[in-house]
Symmetry: C3
Subunit: 335 residues, 3 copies
Amino acid sequence: MATRQASAANDPSANAQRDSDGRLQHLITLEGLSRDELTALLDLAQFYVRAPGDLPARDQSLAGHTVANLFFEPSTRTRVSFELAAQRLGAEVVNLDMQSSSRVKGETVLDTIYTLQAMHADILIMRDAEPGLPAMIARHVAPHVCILNAGEAHLSHPTQGLLDALTIRQHRADFSQLTVLIAGDIAHSRVARSAWQALTTLGVKELRIAAPEDLMPPAGEFAGATRYGDIDAAMRGVDAVMALRIQRERMLHSQIPDEASYYRTFGITSERLNLAKPDAIVLHPGPMNRDVEIASDVADGRRSVIQRQVTNGVAVRMAVLATIVRNVQARRQLR
Amino acid sequence: MATRQASAANDPSANAQRDSDGRLQHLITLEGLSRDELTALLDLAQFYVRAPGDLPARDQSLAGHTVANLFFEPSTRTRVSFELAAQRLGAEVVNLDMQSSSRVKGETVLDTIYTLQAMHADILIMRDAEPGLPAMIARHVAPHVCILNAGEAHLSHPTQGLLDALTIRQHRADFSQLTVLIAGDIAHSRVARSAWQALTTLGVKELRIAAPEDLMPPAGEFAGATRYGDIDAAMRGVDAVMALRIQRERMLHSQIPDEASYYRTFGITSERLNLAKPDAIVLHPGPMNRDVEIASDVADGRRSVIQRQVTNGVAVRMAVLATIVRNVQARRQLR
Amino acid sequence: MATRQASAANDPSANAQRDSDGRLQHLITLEGLSRDELTALLDLAQFYVRAPGDLPARDQSLAGHTVANLFFEPSTRTRVSFELAAQRLGAEVVNLDMQSSSRVKGETVLDTIYTLQAMHADILIMRDAEPGLPAMIARHVAPHVCILNAGEAHLSHPTQGLLDALTIRQHRADFSQLTVLIAGDIAHSRVARSAWQALTTLGVKELRIAAPEDLMPPAGEFAGATRYGDIDAAMRGVDAVMALRIQRERMLHSQIPDEASYYRTFGITSERLNLAKPDAIVLHPGPMNRDVEIASDVADGRRSVIQRQVTNGVAVRMAVLATIVRNVQARRQLR
């Protein structure tokens, strides 16, 4: 962990997300967040969690604020999760279909951002395939504008990392006793990177990553994680296993040429799950390829917490929105 | 009617839409709804109707609830009608563009539904071309989640059937005195099937269906309806005539090869309308092909109630939403 | 100005937008609006302007009203500006993606409008490439329905004209002392036409238009404006210069075959800006082609009011919406 936080000091996204007093103004990466900061976000998120069948939590933390969703990559799931989180905190929400709009007209992304900022849309949620874009934008917006990263290339998906941590914490409160496995296409996964950041800072006992050889990240990444090429060995004794979505186009260029062989060599099946602790939980960020990276009966089984992750996702996004707005207000009052 | 209700007992959609106490939890089909149930829905809808120029009715029946629109087939008209109905009852509404989202990514429809359910979107409005999908989904969702069918293949469009019944009832309150004609592509029409179900259960004196021979449904369907191949004969003495939208691709494979000949042999013209009762009303579910299934001057004429149908559509959807939520709450309180 | 208001009496759009008592029921063109009417709109808009970092203005002027956005041409910027304006006045807002909807199904535009009107969507905001469409629709809707033109072919974009006037007035309150230049593709620009109408009626001292020869409008248009073929001559001594967006497809058919030569001969650079008054401001309607019609350093420079225009745009749209609704209510009470 010492290693990680040293490196965080050099991460441009980690620096770009804090105001001059060190408060979080944006959320671009979990890199550099302290254990206390993560815990406070998880505690507030837990406060917003409701049981299935109960009405969702609501308050007016974002009353008067305007949230804009800018998804340059399509994602119904994450976009709706942020939209509901913002609505339930009393914000106005506008959705911009960025595929069909300004980029087509040749406007720069920064000009689109300046336009939204000038419309008093002061919370901008963005997803983009370009690494570094959220940090670049965060450096240019006004001091009262917040950038929330909803997925950045293969690098960062901070609210996903938080919801994974929250889901694991609901299973076992003490991270220092937990062994967690992330399995699949680690190399290309922003989900894996953000989960690694969250779980390492929260002090998980052991974090394992398992991937086919050519989907394993370079040695400099995922510091402190134990690496496995064999999924069966990796599963032994874990408290939680997170299966990652595998993309067909990635398989084509890997040693594992098709879905059936991926399932055979790396799919999370109930047999493999028997190698984990008896009460181990199974996570997946969705959308799932059933019977490719995860067996259908495991996805629907009693150890699956996949739907609970979705519920936690809205709660985590509410917590992040409320925290970021509170930080901006604090800064404003101190001016 | 006895025949119909006996058959309803075997309709899987009719059974799937009720909870264990027999309350409507979903609205998938009008099949199996009693006359009292239909009348209660129409009465509540009438309560929500406002005159043109007045502000629309609003209340907080759905406050705290989240409604998701899942339209796998495009339909601006019905989607907006449901969206306004839900908003005016105080719900949060999210729209999912299902063409461009999860199905593209290979997620199953059921996983999309589970995801929305986990986000506390407890009222799901769906349109899809696949027969049986709403009933299948209704059998899988949690007890507090409601599925509203906004159009299912050629089979069912229950809120359309209700708005047609309401529009006819506003013209003449006593169904037992009414002769109603549905004219056009009956075979492929979910509008015709839902109207037939509503009007038959409400005890209409006579229901006529008129269609070109190859657009007439098989003999087992539309029990109790009188069948006509000749539109002029069918029009004689009716109190209300509903023209159905004809789709160009259907004509290509029928005896009526083009729009001009369809209009000549089956279009609702003012001459043909003179065969009906002097005060007969004309309905159309929209969007209209003017001067194909309906003459433009009839559509805009004094006997047209087409715009009133649209107004009634929002009111009916408010009534359905408020009723379904009330049923879920009743069930919850009795647990 | 006398000339202009005489011609206004013959403009069908100018007539179509007033009710029988002469009140504005719609906003289709700035043609025919008096100086007092424009001033009242600008004053109300100014009331709605907030500084960057403050929360946006909000009230309940449109509570209970439904606003529908019908953009037949894509425009994220203007659509979102109207959407936020309506939301912040307490309206319900629905967005219709008109590219993919009813026109595809063959419904006439008027039937789409009638449908929305029947759903109690009584404020319809539309953008379309067809000249005369908003006025045609305004003549057909019910007396309580308002049509707001958000861009009509090359002819009219009234809220843009108002926001330009407001932005200039914030710089210098007395129009009678001001020289304003509009530069670029005047011939095809609805932005230029609406700005010309607003600024002429407001009594600007001199309005200049500068364009390459084949992008200059015919002699009958822009009465009272001074015409320039040379941008440097046109810039001399102006208080404000508005650069228009140039479209690549227009250049292909003009004397200026590419972006580099357009920039060289007509781009607003800092050298050219030095020809204007020392405190002259620079406007652009957006989205910008940086380093084509405007130098990037000018767009971001201290004389640029481009982001202020965007802020003013929301305020102007709030003022228009609130005024139009108040006019309809006044008319209703006098019935």
